[in-house]
């Protein structure tokens, strides 16, 4: 029963949600919207479980003074302070000056920007490895990348002789081989998604159903 019931529910709800695409009647969509709202409520409830999990994983490490316990302590303190500040500020938390907004504006946003900024350096190091011409494919990749990069900067267009052709070559690379490869990936992925969805809905795939 523990396996059959989820399979039956998955099949019924799955077929119902597929039906939304083929049955345009608004009454049907009211029901699908209702199901999606149930999903949102479940997802919101799961945040409580996420909070509990963070405490369960980190608090014992702090208590035992495990390696790097200081980071975990900071994380727990900041989490609780932000949460309490948010509760105190209520619905106005993002609009008026308060501790929650201060934490958001002067701690969270700069830290977020810092993480995102790291991407520039990671792109450089990854590109350095990817563009080493070890074989024919990598050499082609390197050649295409150099052409696109030069054509994208203003200096590229002002190069003598080849300057006026570079944007055309870049556009061809981006619009023809690049788009063709992307579309092939999209079509394959879409079919894979349909097959995966059907495997789950039809109950052929059961590894997600948890322990017996």
């Amino acid at each position: 029963m523990k396996r059959s019931l989820p399979l039956i529910i998955t099949f019924l709800i799955g077929m119902f949600m597929i039906g939304e695409f083929f049955i345009p009647h608004y009454r049907y969509r009211v029901w699908t919207a209702e199901f999606l709202e149930w999903g949102l409520i479940l997802a919101a409830a799961a945040f409580v479980l996420g909070f509990v999990n963070l405490i369960q994983v980190n608090a014992p490490k702090v208590a035992r003074r495990d390696a790097d316990w200081g980071y975990k302590l900071i994380m727990l303190v900041v989490m609780i302070v932000t949460m309490v500040a948010g509760f105190i500020a209520g619905e106005e938390r993002s609009r008026v000056d308060n501790l929650y907004k201060w934490v958001y504006d002067f701690v969270f946003v700069p830290l977020n920007a810092t993480m995102f900024a790291l991407l520039a350096f990671y792109i450089s190091s990854a590109a350095f490895r990817a563009f080493r011409a070890r074989n024919l494919e990598a050499a082609l990749l390197l050649g295409a990348a150099i052409l696109v990069m030069i054509a994208r900067v203003p200096a590229g267009e002002s190069l003598p002789v080849v300057g006026e052709y570079l944007p055309k070559v870049m556009n061809w690379i981006m619009d023809v081989p690049n788009i063709a490869a992307r579309r092939a990936i999209f079509i394959g992925a879409a079919l894979g998604a349909v097959a995966t969805g059907l495997r789950v809905i039809l109950g052929l795939e059961r590894s997600h159903l948890g322990a017996d």
């Binding site: 597929i18 695409f21 083929f22 049955i23 345009p24 009647h25 608004y26 009454r27 969509r29 009211v30 999903g39 479940l42 997802a43 799961a46 479980l49 996420g50 999990n53 963070l54 369960q56 994983v57 014992p60 390696a67 790097d68 980071y71 969270f108 830290l111 977020n112 993480m115 790291l118 991407l119 990671y122 792109i123 190091s125 990854a126 490895r129 990817a130 992307r182 990936i185 999209f186 079509i187 394959g188 992925a189 079919l191 894979g192 998604a193 349909v194 097959a195 995966t196 969805g197 059907l198 495997r199 789950v200 039809l202 052929l204 795939e205 590894s207 997600h208 948890g210 322990a211 017996d212």
Partner: protein, 407 residues
Amino acid sequence: MTARLLIAALLLISSAARAAAPATGLEVSAPPYNDGLNLDLSWTPPADTTGLMVLRSDQGPDGPWTVAAGPLPAGASSTTDKVTTDPRGSPPKALYWYRLVSLDSDSPLLILDEEAEDDAPAKAAWAAQLAASQGATASVEGRPQAALFNTSLGHMLLLGLILGVGGLMLWFTDQARKGAPMFIRRIPGIDAIEEGIGRATEMGKPVLYVPGIDELQDIQTIASMLILGQVSKTVAEYQTDIIVSCCIPMVREVADEVVKAGYYQAGYPDAYDPRNTRFLSSEQFAFTAGTNGIILREKPATNIYLGRFFAEALILAETGYVNRSIQIAGTAEATQLPFFVAACDYTLIGEELFAVSAYLSRDPRLVSSLKASDYVKVFLVVSLVVGTVAMSLGSDIVVRLFTITGG
């Protein structure tokens, strides 16, 4: 202080002194394959107007009126009106009446009380004035029609494809049960998963599994959960640890159940540790920082990134590279694939992500689904070739066949 505000219609006033003629040929009809909430309006615009307002009544041809759309540009000749935005609380009526008003310099102005949150009486009075103005057409009625089934060519073809995949899956499953061999090509990236787990075991280090950062209902996350079931079973058999780093609390709960199931199926339920399936943060870069922390502090020997990734893909993969972990990634997110290809040892591209679960399990029923989607893929490739040839010859029949219409 009660200030008065002139808005909207002011924008439309031109220097034209004479009254604009009403639009002609106003027609109201339900769009094909519609949800029953929309009506299409079309008309011939007058020459001397500065803009057009669409008025709607659900009571009768004489109002009361509400503004349904506008101001529309003077040359507009059609629009679609959504008769209700809340079909649950306010379902659509059986019949609606419309008037189209040509605006000119003499058109009444909307004057709102800026202290009132929603000055409904002023808006109703303005709509009544517009409906009575010289530029208004006679009332035309329209009946919303909700279609029970979208029978357009594109939808039927899509339904056929889904049924085709489903039917082929069941047929191949039946063939597999009868003992027919199910060939599946070798995918090095998937083979590397088991090698990576073996390496982690030899090094006495954990395996890190990241199921992407999207919600549970995303198909890539679902595929990742299915793979996690197989991976955790193998990890349990090898008697090593797996850390699952989750960005969405709901995904963590499901991942926890899936990992637990893997350990049970492998026969090592006692080895399962729920603290290794971790929710870090639902914020993208906070999650990235947390996962990077796991990579640098707990030093997993193998990192598996399977699911939907965005800007964090390269940050995670490069940190894993610095840690000298074996890295296997897979996503159908085309924008992130180049980063994974550059930074990881193996990358599963697009559809390969959806094949992993079947490949690892070797269950003929699951492998049969790959065979089914391959047959549909052949059909699509043939359609692409035929469509290209047909378009080159001036026929758009294949394009129309694949066009999705209706709501």
